[in-house]
């Protein structure tokens, strides 16, 4: 049972963030809007269980990503994260050159969004959970039903794909400037 006055304030405050989170998972505005509404509906119903000692964002984000994962499964967009999990763990002998943050800085928000949206769900979901919701590796592992190391592999893969995608975009831009 919720205190509707308080909940209304929280709804206004957090709706954009919840919507953005759902958008990250589900990729379309329509699905994200439905998911955000459903998230707040569930939160409203279970508001009595919310403990004020915990940040509200953590609580509502947990409801949101649980719901979004269910939606992804229903839509058939959720690949089994365990597929070839062992094969994915590569033992690199030396670190690769790292430049995602530099690439991010050079890209527009739209291109970055497109790059993240272009990731397969099994990489995109842990990436969002880690860097948007700020869950720990262990928490993501529990949520996805896998282990901590495998979460690391998924995140590394996500970053590698992101680097490639952003690097290609940067190369294309440089090429265009040269032509001009």
């Amino acid at each position: 049972m919720a205190d509707s006055g308080t909940f209304e304030v929280l709804y206004r405050e957090y709706y954009p963030r919840v919507f953005a989170l759902c958008r990250r998972f589900l990729l379309t505005n329509e699905r994200a809007e439905d998911a955000a509404q459903e998230t707040f509906t569930r939160a409203f119903k279970t508001f009595g269980h919310y403990q004020s000692s915990r940040p509200f964002w953590h609580w509502i984000a947990a409801i949101a990503h649980h719901h979004c994962l269910d939606q992804l499964k229903q839509l058939g967009r959720w690949e089994d994260v365990h597929v070839d999990s062992n094969a994915e763990i590569e033992h690199l002998q030396a670190p690769e050159p790292l430049a995602v943050d530099v690439l991010i800085a050079s890209e527009t928000q739209d291109r970055l969004n497109a790059a993240i949206d272009g990731l397969p769900a099994k990489y995109r979901v842990p990436l969002v959970l880690a860097y948007s919701v700020h869950l720990s590796y262990a928490e993501i592992a529990t949520l996805l039903g896998t282990n901590r190391n495998h979460v690391g592999v998924l995140l590394l893969r996500a970053k590698q794909q992101l680097r490639r995608c952003l690097q290609q975009s940067l190369d294309q831009k440089t090429l265009n400037r040269g032509v001009e």
Partner: protein, 557 residues
């Protein structure tokens, strides 16, 4: 030197290899990476780059989050929920209530009461004896306990009140509401005491007030045997196993006992609860209120007022100046009744000496259950009104008193409601959830309604817990009264939710109370709706109390 993998470096950089949260293998892995990074400039740089990358991703995703998003109307979101949920909750709770009522009737009335009646018939003492024993126990132990703990009780109530009021001082209307409450409380406490003093006699040995003795106070006696031959210039309250009153009582006489015999005169009214009540040459100035198994008033007794009697058998040979109202299995009347005789019984006989100044209104299974002697005098008419259970089906909407009482209830509920919603604003924001939540609320309300008095009685049995039991019962009765007001406020808010401006508390309460008042008085459905309103209101209050920690404004993360 072989470098750790990028995966290991990334997990190390993002503290996913925290040694405090890992097993021995994990701890070893962390130490290996840490030792390597300490001595390898390339990996140190890689770790720093990975950390920067993580920060870059976080800020990039945060930037994406802050982009402008068209937000749907909040009101649409909530209003849709409320209408749907209230409808579902109403249906669900109505079904639950019907089930509970059916179960209650089937289980409690038919089985449990049947079992109690059977057990009582074999060994248990009569209900009057039990009531008398409980009264004696509570009177003796309870007064002592209460006196010993009265300071503590008042302090606790005071502290709880202050704690409850701590958050409302700055709310609009809080100060006048608190002042009004304090004013009413102070007025009640400061009311002048009774004009005469109270004398209390508590002892195991028989209490005898001799014929030569005159007591000029109101007298309260609790003992096993009380014999009052002397005069009492005040009221007399007696709780004992056997009571005999032959003296004159100028005030009222109230007795609770196994056996009561009254032979003296009583200036005021007489109220008696006992197994056997006998009046012999008694003279009563006021009304007689009697409840017992066997009641007998002899031919030389009289009352200047009315007689109301509830018993198994009644033998009435006395003179009653005004009306007589009787509910009994067997009624035998040979006395004189100044006005009407109103009786519900299995058998009624009016012997030859009987004289009825007004009408006889009687309810029996069949009309011929009234037996009249040949010389009975009836100045009015005889009106047969069918079976006793049909009495309740009479239309109370046609009586003025019904509307007067409803108006009084409305005014009282309105004032109390205004006070409690001003003093505890959170009570005015409770919501009924959807169907499942509605059932939960009703369930909690039903539990509160049923279990709290049982718990209070159990606590009282421990004697030490008597004050706590008293407070519990008081709180329960208060909550019972407030339940319908809380629900009325919720209904008022729901009805007025569509308005563009925020309706005032007065308007919300007024609308809600009117709706509740009409609903609980509807023919046929009123009883169910009354129970429903009570358990829902109790459930809402209980849930608010249980969730009081979670209902505060949560910190924004």
């Amino acid at each position: 030197m072989s470098h750790p993998t990028e995966l290991n470096l990334m997990m190390y950089a993002e503290e996913a290899l925290d040694p405090t949260a890992l097993d021995q293998t994990g701890e070893a892995e962390w130490r290996t990476v840490q030792n390597h990074v300490k001595h390898c400039a390339i990996c140190r740089s890689a770790v720093e780059q990975l950390r920067q990358e993580a920060r870059g991703l976080s800020s990039a995703l945060a930037m994406a989050t802050s982009t402008s998003i068209e937000m749907p109307e909040t009101r649409h979101f909530q209003r849709q929920r409320r209408l749907r949920n209230v409808t579902l909750a109403t249906i669900a709770v109505t079904l639950t209530t019907a089930l509970v009522q059916w179960s209650w009737k089937a289980l409690f009335e038919e089985m449990i009461l049947g079992a109690i009646a059977w057990a009582a018939s074999t060994w248990a003492p009569s209900i009057y004896t039990v009531a008398n024993q409980i009264f004696l126990f509570l009177q003796k132990e309870g007064v002592d306990m209460f006196n010993n703990h009265v300071a503590l009780i008042i302090t606790v109530i005071g502290l709880l009140s202050l704690y409850g009021l701590r958050s409302v001082w700055r709310k609009p209307g809080a100060v006048p509401a608190v002042l009004l409450t304090l004013g009413v409380g102070a007025t009640l406490i400061g009311l002048p005491p009774a004009s005469h003093a109270l004398q209390i006699i508590q002892q195991e040995d028989p209490v005898i007030v001799a014929a030569s003795e005159t007591i000029n106070d109101t007298l309260l006696i609790t003992t096993k045997t009380a014999t009052i031959h002397g005069d009492i210039k005040g009221n007399l309250f007696v709780a004992a196993e056997d009571i005999e009153v032959t003296g004159d009582i100028s005030g009222n006489l109230i007795t609770v006992a196994d056996n009561v015999t009254i032979s003296g005169s009583v200036g005021g009214m007489t109220v008696s609860l006992a197994d056997a009540i006998i009046f012999e040459e008694a003279s009563i100035g006021g009304d007689l209120w009697l409840a017992g198994d066997t009641i007998k008033l002899d031919a030389k007794s009289e009352t200047q007022g009315n007689l109301a009697s509830f018993s198994s058998s009644l033998t009435m040979e006395a003179k009653v100046a005004k009306d007589m109202l009787v509910a009994a299995e067997r009624v035998l009347i040979s006395g004189e009744i100044g006005r009407n005789l109103n009786v519900a019984t299995k058998h009624i006989s009016l012997l030859d000496d009987a004289m009825i100044g007004g009408d006889i209104i009687y309810r029996t299974a069949t009309k011929d259950r009234l037996v009249l002697g040949d010389d009975v005098i009836i100045r009015g008419e005889i009106d047969y009104q069918g079976k006793p259970q049909n009495v309740q089906a009479r239309n109370h909407f046609v009586s003025d008193s019904f509307y007067l009482w409803e108006l009084l209830w409305l005014v009282g509920a309105f004032i109390v409601g205004w006070l409690i919603f001003t003093l505890t604003p959170s009570l005015g924001r409770v919501e009924l959830g959807d169907g499942k939540e509605g059932i939960k609320t009703a369930g909690i309300g039903f539990l509160v309604l049923v279990t709290v008095p049982i718990v209070a009685v159990i606590i009282a049995i421990t004697v030490v817990g008597l004050p706590l039991s008293f407070i519990t019962i008081m709180a329960w009765l208060t909550a019972w009264y407030l339940a319908k007001i809380v629900l009325a406020h919720l209904i008022g808010r729901s009805v007025l939710a569509g308005r563009s401006d925020k309706p005032s508390l007065v308007f919300v309460l007024f609308i809600g109370l009117i709706i509740v008042s009409i609903a609980i008085n509807l023919p046929f459905l009123g009883g169910v709706l009354n129970l429903l309103a009570t358990i829902l209101g109790l459930g809402l209050m209980a849930q608010l109390w249980l969730n009081r920690g979670g209902s505060r404004d949560p910190e924004v993360g």
